[in-house]
């Protein structure tokens, strides 16, 4: 199985340690959900993978490319979409896609075809020539997502991608992500909506205090909590139960090896 993202021994300290000795792997054709309480180090981890924050230590490989020594090559196959849409209010969605396609040097014909396709799929075709300044938060998120997909990235890094989206738009985005995964792409995302991770993720990583507490399929995580004798009366059947049990006492939690599938 091709490894889309390998992170080894990643460290980052701001005023206090944000990420400590983090290891994780995402395979091609896999959707990986990184979960954790507020301030756990999820966004810092993703920003380091996207090349926005310089790690103090550690290795990041994107489809075999060392992202620290050859960031441009790694970025060429990566897309980053944070919870705050990275768009320009004074540009129309179409102009925004033209700009982003230019940044990634997308072939003009391919860029045009993808823009038309993405705008249609995300329900933005009728708004393609209106400036984004009047758009709702959800619409802005959709424009940003179209921008993230215009260069057909192999690795998609998403920080809270469903924030601000209505039910229909959220469903649409989830379907698009799963389509990409089925097509051999890789997705790593953070979310506070555990139901999303439970339904969509092939594997889940749980992070707290900058450390990866557990990683694996939902079944493997359940098995770990049962094995550790931390399951509730009902056996800790939902991801929410597992998440709360693991993050309630992160120090006592088992390390990743125990849960890896």
């Amino acid at each position: 199985m091709t490894e889309a993202l390998i992170v080894r021994g990643l460290d980052k300290t701001f005023a206090k340690p944000a990420v400590m000795d983090l290891d994780l792997t995402v395979h091609a054709g896999e959707l990986y959900a990184l979960l954790g309480p507020n301030g756990a180090g999820k966004t810092t981890t993703l920003r380091m993978v996207a090349g926005l924050t310089r790690p103090d230590k550690g290795e990041i490989r994107v489809f075999g490319i060392d992202a620290r020594t050859d960031p441009a090559a790694a970025k060429a196959v990566t897309a980053w979409a944070p919870d705050e849409a990275m768009i320009y209010d004074k540009l129309t969605p179409l102009e925004y896609l033209e700009f982003v396609a230019g940044l990634w040097n997308v072939e003009p014909k391919v860029g045009k075809a993808r823009a038309d396709d993405l705008l249609a799929k995300l329900g933005l075709a009728s708004e393609a020539r209106r400036r984004c300044e009047g758009f709702s938060r959800g619409m802005k998120q959709k424009v940003a997502l179209a921008g993230a997909l215009i260069h057909d990235p192999k690795l998609l890094i998403l920080d809270e991608p469903l924030t601000g989206l209505d039910a229909a738009a959220a469903r649409l985005v989830k379907d698009m992500l799963q389509d990409r995964v089925r097509a051999g792409g890789a997705v790593i995302l953070t979310t506070h909506i555990l139901e999303v991770a439970e339904r969509m993720a092939d594997r889940i990583g749980i992070i707290a205090g900058g450390r990866l507490l557990a990683e694996g399929t939902l079944e493997a995580l359940r098995a770990q909590t049962r094995r550790d004798g931390r399951a509730g009366a009902d056996g800790g059947s939902t991801l929410e139960d597992v998440f709360l049990q693991l993050t309630a006492d992160p120090v006592a939690a088992s390390v990743v090896d125990g849960a890896s599938a």
Partner: protein, 503 residues
């Protein structure tokens, strides 16, 4: 008022120890100037006659237009800025009170700006020999109140006449025109060719000597108030306060309705195109970034007025230069070429500050594989292209009448624009466009350096046009030294704030 004060402090120049030192030095220089003025004017008692009354009234008119430019801009922006306005209008406070406080904040801001210049210069004279001159501060306050009332009325009238979509842009353009009104009016006579000298004061003095100058009695109010006569001062303050209070009280409801109507209608609709064109996706990183920056410059109403004011000063000078080139007036040509070069540097500097520092999506650029230097080149090109387009007709005329002057002017303008751009690369302060207005201008060091370097290159151009090409090397070398001393490495640029991380 506390919210307004917070915004004012957030936007003040000179943050950090270096900024404070800079402000301290500036204040010391101004106070020293004020002491010299106090020494020179200690025994002088200004006469109250037709000439002094007219000059004081005209001075007030100039200050009023400058203030109106700012209050009109601030009043129209207040309609579109959501922030605390939504909170205030959703609270049980009446709209008239909200507008009154908001307008008072605008007036206080404008007064403070003028007081910052007036207090150090006139303070020593007030302390030493002319206590009555404290009335000048009262005159400034009354002018600010009247300008705020006029700015509000104009903004609301525009909103009613042309609607929310166009008001923001038109108000900013109008604000720039009002700000430059006095200069444009004084230059109009010269450009139209009726006069060779634009000195309005000399003209007024001539009329006073001939006994033809007879200002109406009410025109003496500003001068008498400035000299500390209580009744004229009270009349001005009372009149301005009344106008201010009446406009805030009567426009309160209309303002809250307009602010609600303005929500989400910021800016004209983008021109419609057919379907996505393949050509628009061509060109790679450089062209895509250039295109994006030019679109953003053209669509940002608030930034438009900042740049337009400088452009307005450039146009009459360029017209004058063309006229002098046609008539072969040598000395005037040299001076005109210098002014054009200086203003080209200033306009390019303003635009470069916008394109380089005001980036709404810095993370998007940082996660892209595009190199930082290529992105910067595209942003610099976007800042210089409008200046080139603006100067192209002038250079065209000069090529026809005086090709050598055209070559020097073009070279000087290019050099000044490029230098200003480089200074903005080295001293950029990345921030979001939405925060841009609060942040004020670029770093004070870059602003002063831009002026000095542009002036030196302008001087070199003037000397070259006047036939002293060898002498022009001196200011050019000085400009080069200034640029080299202000050069910043990549690491230093990155320390200035969020910046692009690709290399």
């Amino acid at each position: 008022m506390r919210l307004y004060w917070r915004n004012f402090r957030a936007g003040r120049a000179g943050k950090g120890p270096r900024g404070l030192i800079g402000l301290g030095v500036l204040a010391a220089v101004m106070i020293a100037g004020g002491v010299f003025i106090a020494l020179g004017l200690h025994d002088w008692r200004p006469p109250i006659n037709a000439l002094s009354v007219t000059i004081a009234a005209l001075g007030c008119l100039v200050v009023f237009t400058l203030m109106l430019s700012q209050t009109l801009s601030a009043s129209s922006e207040a309609l579109y800025e959501r922030g605390d306005l939504d909170l205030l209008f959703s609270s049980p406070i009446g709209p008239a009170k909200v507008l009154f406080v908001r307008a008072l904040g605008v007036a206080a801001g404008v007064t403070t700006l003028f007081l910052l210049a007036a207090v150090p210069l006139l303070g020593p004279s007030i302390v030493w020999g002319h206590p009555g001159w404290i009335g000048l501060f009262g005159v400034l306050a009354s002018l600010a109140l009247a300008a705020t009332a006029a700015g509000l009325l104009l903004a609301m009238a525009l909103f009613a006449l042309i609607g929310p979509r166009r008001t923001r842009t038109v108000a900013q353009v109008l604000a720039a025109l009002v700000g430059a009104a006095f200069f444009l009016a004084s230059q109009a006579r010269t450009i139209l060719g009726r006069e060779t000298s634009g000195s309005l004061v000399a003209d007024i003095a001539r009329q006073a000597q001939d006994g033809r100058l007879r200002p109406p009695p009410v025109a003496s109010l500003p001068l008498r108030a400035m000299l500390g006569e209580p009744l004229p001062l009270l009349a001005l303050l009372g009149g301005a306060s009344l106008l201010f209070g009446l406009s805030a009280a009567t426009l309160g409801r209309r303002f809250s309705d307009a602010a609600a109507a303005a929500q989400g209608k910021t800016g004209a609709r983008a021109p419609r195109r057919g379907t996505a064109s393949t050509r628009a996706f061509a060109g790679g990183v450089f062209l895509a970034t250039l295109r994006k920056e030019l679109l953003l410059i053209g669509r940002d109403a608030a930034l438009l007025s900042q740049v337009m004011l400088r452009v307005l000063y450039l146009i009459p000078t360029a017209l004058l230069l063309s006229r002098n080139a046609a008539s072969g007036a040598g000395a005037a040509l040299a001076g005109g070429a210098g002014v054009v070069v200086f203003l080209a540097g200033q306009v390019a500097g303003s635009l470069a500050w916008i394109t380089l520092s005001a980036e709404e999506a810095p993370d998007l650029l940082a996660v892209s594989p595009a190199g930082t230097s290529l992105l910067r080149r595209a942003k610099l090109a976007a800042a210089m292209l409008p200046v080139a387009l603006l100067l192209a007709p002038l250079i065209g005329v000069l090529v026809w009448f005086a090709p050598v002057v055209a070559a020097w002017t073009a070279a000087g303008a290019l050099l000044a624009a490029w230098s200003s751009g480089l200074l903005n690369v080295w001293h950029q302060r990345p921030g979001k466009r939405s925060e841009f207005r609060r942040r004020g201008g670029s770093s004070w060091l870059a602003t002063i350096a831009e002026i000095v370097v542009s002036a030196l290159i302008a001087g070199a151009t003037g000397l070259a046009v006047a036939g002293f090409a060898a002498w022009s090397l001196i200011p050019l070398v000085l400009a080069g030294v200034a640029l080299l001393s202000l050069r910043r490495g990549e690491a230093q640029i990155a320390r200035n704030g969020r910046t692009l991380v690709n290399s």
